[in-house]
Each structure stands twice: as structure tokens, then as C-alpha cells.
Amino acid sequence: MARLEIDRVTKRYGDVYAVRDVTLDVADGEFVVLLGPSGCGKTTTLRVVAGFAEPTSGTVRLGERDITSLPPWKRNAGLVFQSYALFPHLTVAQNVAFGLEMRKVEPAEMSRRIADALRLVRLEHLGERLPRQLSGGQQQRVALARALVFRPDVLLLDEPLSNLDAKLRQEVRVEIRELQRKLELTTVMVTHDQEEALTMADRLVVMNDGAVRQVGTQQDLYERPTDRFVAGFVGRSTFIEGEIEAPGRFRSAGGLALACDGALPGPATLALRPERIAVAATPQTGMDNSLPGVVEFVSYLGATIDMHVRISGKERVIVQIPNRADSLVPSVGGQVHVAWAAANGIVFSGTDT
């Protein structure tokens, strides 16, 4: 395994930027997830690393090598595709053997390593099957074994779990993550599923419109999003438009005066996480902000309850409360008081990002 350095990579198709000035270091043994909506450039970035797209500018280094213009077959990168991309005419064992054959590994060594790889993904008993005789989850594991058996310098996962059903996906997430830790694989995964990204990554890279918006740990992205896009894409947020009147005072477009943390005077957006807002039947003293509101929408989600509370003519906040025996479960039209600490509101300066 090796360290992967993506340095100022841009990929342009005509006038369209698929990837714009992306810089990213992945440490040896680190699991980095590229997260973003479709068309954000995450897959193109992965294809640049794999060698299927040549960057318009910038360099990619893997370990000690500059691999920017190396063809895919000389990169020593293990790739797992969304469609698994198993060779349909070869058995499971032959699929796994492919990378070893290309590296001219000796027969004895080869069969030992194939057996090891299949054992690693718990498919040692299915070596003679053809891919179409396997379930989706099993095919996925064959693809993983095939990508690992030749000891690649980096493992690249392109939406590897999208074709699995929800329950299986949760199991495989943990499985891949444990395997990655055990083998200390330098890994880059692409996904549009934030839950998947949050479960698996050491570090996340949020992308939009071909550019990196924020790089950080789960906590960094959730607690300290650097812009409005990240606050909306990772977790949920209610955005309230308005302006900072004075340090610590936010005036919403609907006329509410709210306490907030710092920031320079001028137009701004206040972002509130649904679970950081408390709900009570009476005004809450001791909170920086406590506002009366009317419940307009309630969804009962089992473990939690979501509600939309109107706090002014123009503003409505989403509140999520845990579903406990003593929880206040208001009904639509009910009067409540919502409250939050100033530190729980995230302020983004400027009108829109």
C-alpha cells in the first residue's frame, strides 16, 4: 500500500469542467470517501486516479511514482465497480486469478493466493461457480477479492454498494471497512450516499460542481461545515436567510431577532440542525433563543419524530426529537416553544453559496 497524492487536478471536456483544481492527499492505509451529488466530479476524479481519464492538468502520485500519464494496466490499482464487472465467461477462481496471471505469478503461489483471497471474502467454497450463479452480494465480494489479490498500491471503490439491497448494504459496509483496516489498505471510495460515507470513511471529501467543497472527518463536516452546500448535503439543516445586525445578533427575513455566534455584520444565512432544537409546551428560560411556534407537519419515524414548526410568517424550522415515553408529541396546529443555544446555529456570511 502507498500514499496517494492528487495535486491540482483539472479535467475539462471542451468548455465543461468535470473536475476543477482538486487537491487531495490520502495517507498510507487511510480510507477516504468522495461524497457528492451525481455529476459533481467524484467519479471522474476516481477515473483519473485509475487511469481511465487523463487530467487536463495536474499530477497524480502513487507512492514514489508519478502515475499521471501511465496507462491503467501499469498503475497497480485495485478497482471495484458498481456493476462488479466480473468476467462472465470465467469462474470465480479464474476471475480472481486474472490479475495474478497478468503479473506472471508462479502457479503454486497463484493457487495459494487465490485461496487466501477467497477465504478473506468468505467464498472459498464457490471458486468453481460462474458469476451468474452467485447472488449480488457474493459477486460483490468476488470483485473485491479480485481487486485485492494482486496487492494493489491503492484500492478504488466506485459506488460499490449501490446495487445491493438496503439490508445487505449495511452488512457489507462494515465488512469492507473491517477488511480495509485489517489489511491497512489505502482506499478511495466514491458514493452519493451520505450514510454510507459517514459509516466507512476516515476522512470525507465533499464535492460539488467538480470542485472540493470541504475535506474533513465526520465531526468536521457535521459540526463545522464551511459552506451552505456542505451543511445541506451532510445531514439536514434548516436555513434561515437574514442579516447580522451586530456581532451576536441575527435578524431574519421574517423579522425575528435571534442570538447567534459572532460573524461580521451583513447578509448571512443561519443553519440549524433539526436535533439541536428543543421543543417544549412553555417558553424555555436559560436558552439563548426561545420562540413560540405552530406545528404544521409531523412525521412519526419510530426512533425519532420530525416536525415542521412555523416561527414567523416567512420561516419554518425542522425539529427532530427522540421518541421517548416522556416526549412531547404535539399534533398539527398545536402551539409549542422551540429553543436552541446560539452555539448551535451555524452562520454563513453572504447571501448564497
Binding site: 485509475a50 487511469g51 481511465f52 496507462p71 491503467p72 494496466w73 501499469k74 498503475r75 497497480n76 490499482a77 485495485g78 478497482l79 465497480f81 458498481q82 456493476s83 464487472a85 466480473l86 468476467f87 462472465p88 465467461h89 486474472f98 490479475g99 497478468m102 503479473r103 470483485a143 479480485r146 481487486a147 494482486f150 478504488l156
Partner: protein, 282 residues
């Protein structure tokens, strides 16, 4: 009362579904009969004893099959047609495979036009193709002095022309159904472009290639109209031998030849179908 009405509606739908199925099966049977009837009659006729076909037959015999073996023109015609079809199919595949790859993989100006052009020999009537080739051969021979008119080379080239549309069409179709990511997977595993093609692409499109070879072979083997214009003296393909025989005689020998031809092609199809499911490609 709604339930009863709903039930009636459901019943009506079910009944119309059944009617539809009966109609479909009926239509399929009629089509099948339409295709098979001539084959059945030809096969029956081949075993008639009398020389002038008339119904009902006076008796049955195998004499017409023996007559084929004794007829030089049929034997040599069969051998020539076989040779021709094998060579033309091989060359047609060698040309059609790269062409199909190029058409389905690269984006260039005139791609559509090229694709249509390669299918053209299938559309142009055989007679027109034959005359055009004949005139072309004459002109080239006049211009270069090379013996092209009526040569075996000219005949093979003509047959390659009618094989190409099949190879291009069928290989293109199977390339279109191919998941490109398996090729990328092979490359990421260390296979260069050529190895990827040999180890992954070619095996994956094998059914299409085999079907292309089969259809190319059949269309070359049975070709009459075009061949009529470009065969040289003493070089008679089986279809031409049949038509020439028919000019003088109408005894069941022709039926017997047809039966053998049908058997040959049917066998080829059955054998290939054992290795690749042709029905999946065509």
C-alpha cells in the same frame, strides 16, 4: 355492487388475455406453416420414384440421391460453394470484426454513414450487385491487364462483400450489449489493450461472432444472383449448377440436392447452437 362490477371487469380482462394468447399462437402457427410447407414438399418430392413429379407419387426411392453422386456438376459445385463460403466467411470476419469495433467504440464524423455503407450489400438486389461487379471487373481488367474477370479471386471478393453486412451487424449488436466496465476491470488488473481484447472482449462477444460466421456462411453458400455474373467458365457453384440443371430437366434430383443443402445448413445451425445460444444474439 361495485365488487360484482369489478369482478366482471377482471373476468373480461382475463378472457381478452386468453383470446389474445390464442390469436398470437394461431398467427405463429400460420407463419410456421408458411415457412415449413415448401420444405416439407421439397423433401417429400426428393423421394418420389417417377421422373416427372405428379401427385400422388407412384412409389418411393433413393435413386435421385444416387444420381447426385454420379453428377459431376453437382459434386464439384458443392465443393466449390463450400470452399467459397468458408474462405469468404473467414475474410469477412477479419474485416467485419475490426469494422464493428471501430463503429461501436469510436466517435468520428461519418460514423453513421460508414455503418450504413457496410450494410448496403444486404439491401442492394443481388442482380444489381452482380452486374455492377461484372462491369467493375471488366473495367479493371481493361485498365490494368490483370486477369480479373471470371477469376476465383474476383468470385471470392464478391462473396466477401455479401458476408460483411452480417459480420458487421451481428458483432456490432453483441458489442452494444457488452458491459464496458469489464474491459476496464481487465485493464485495472494489468491487461493491456490487446490482452484485454483477447481475454475479455472476444470471449464475451463470441456468440455474436459465431452467429456472424454462420449467417455469413449461409448467405455465401446459397448465393445465386450475384455469382451468376462473376463466375468464370468451368467454375460453377452449387446454386448455379442447380439452376442450369433446371433449364433442361425437372426430375426430383433438384429436390434431393435441396434436401442435402437444407440438412447441411440445419446441422451447422444445430452444432453452433450447442456452443452458443444463437437465439440470444439474433
Amino acid at each position: 355492487m361495485t365488487t360484482i362490477r369489478e369482478l366482471t371487469v377482471i373476468g373480461r380482462i382475463a378472457k381478452s388475455g386468453r383470446l389474445g394468447r390464442i390469436a398470437l399462437n394461431g398467427a405463429a402457427m400460420v407463419t410456421l406453416a408458411y415457412i415449413l410447407t415448401p420444405l416439407v414438399f421439397v423433401t417429400w418430392l426428393a423421394f418420389f420414384r417417377q421422373e416427372i413429379p405428379s401427385f400422388p407419387p407412384e412409389g418411393y426411392s433413393l435413386r435421385w440421391f444416387q444420381a447426385i453422386a454420379g453428377n459431376d456438376r453437382f459434386v464439384s459445385g458443392f465443393l466449390l460453394s463450400l470452399q467459397l463460403a468458408v474462405i469468404a466467411t473467414s475474410i469477412g470476419l477479419c474485416l467485419g470484426l475490426p469494422a464493428a469495433l471501430c463503429i461501436s467504440r469510436s466517435r468520428f464524423k461519418g460514423r453513421e454513414a460508414l455503418s450504413s455503407l457496410l450494410l448496403l450489400p444486404l439491401v442492394v438486389p443481388g442482380i444489381v450487385l452482380g452486374i455492377a461487379l461484372y462491369v467493375f471487373h471488366v473495367e479493371v481488367e481493361l485498365a490494368t491487364g490483370l486477369p480479373i474477370l471470371g477469376s476465383l479471386g474476383g468470385l471470392i471478393a464478391g462473396h466477401v462483400l455479401i458476408v460483411i453486412p452480417w459480420t458487421v451487424r451481428l458483432v456490432t449488436a453483441s458489442l452494444a450489449g457488452l458491459d464496458r466496465s469489464i474491459e476496464e476491470a481487465a485493464q485495472s488488473l494489468g491487461a493491456n489493450r490487446f490482452t484485454t481484447f483477447r481475454r475479455v472482449t472476444l470471449p464475451a462477444i463470441r456468440p455474436g461472432v459465431v452467429a456472424a460466421a454462420l449467417f455469413g456462411f449461409v448467405s455465401s453458400f446459397g448465393n445465386l444472383e450475384m455469382s451468376l455474373f462473376i463466375v468464370g467458365p468451368g467454375r460453377t457453384t452449387l446454386p448455379i449448377a442447380i439452376i442450369q440443371y433446371l433449364e433442361w430437366k425437372i426430375d426430383p434430383t433438384i429436390a434431393a440436392v435441396s434436401v442435402l443443402q437444407i440438412l447441411l445448413i440445419a446441422t451447422a445451425m444445430l452444432i453452433t447452437d450447442r456452443f452458443v445460444r444463437i437465439s440470444r444474439v439474433v
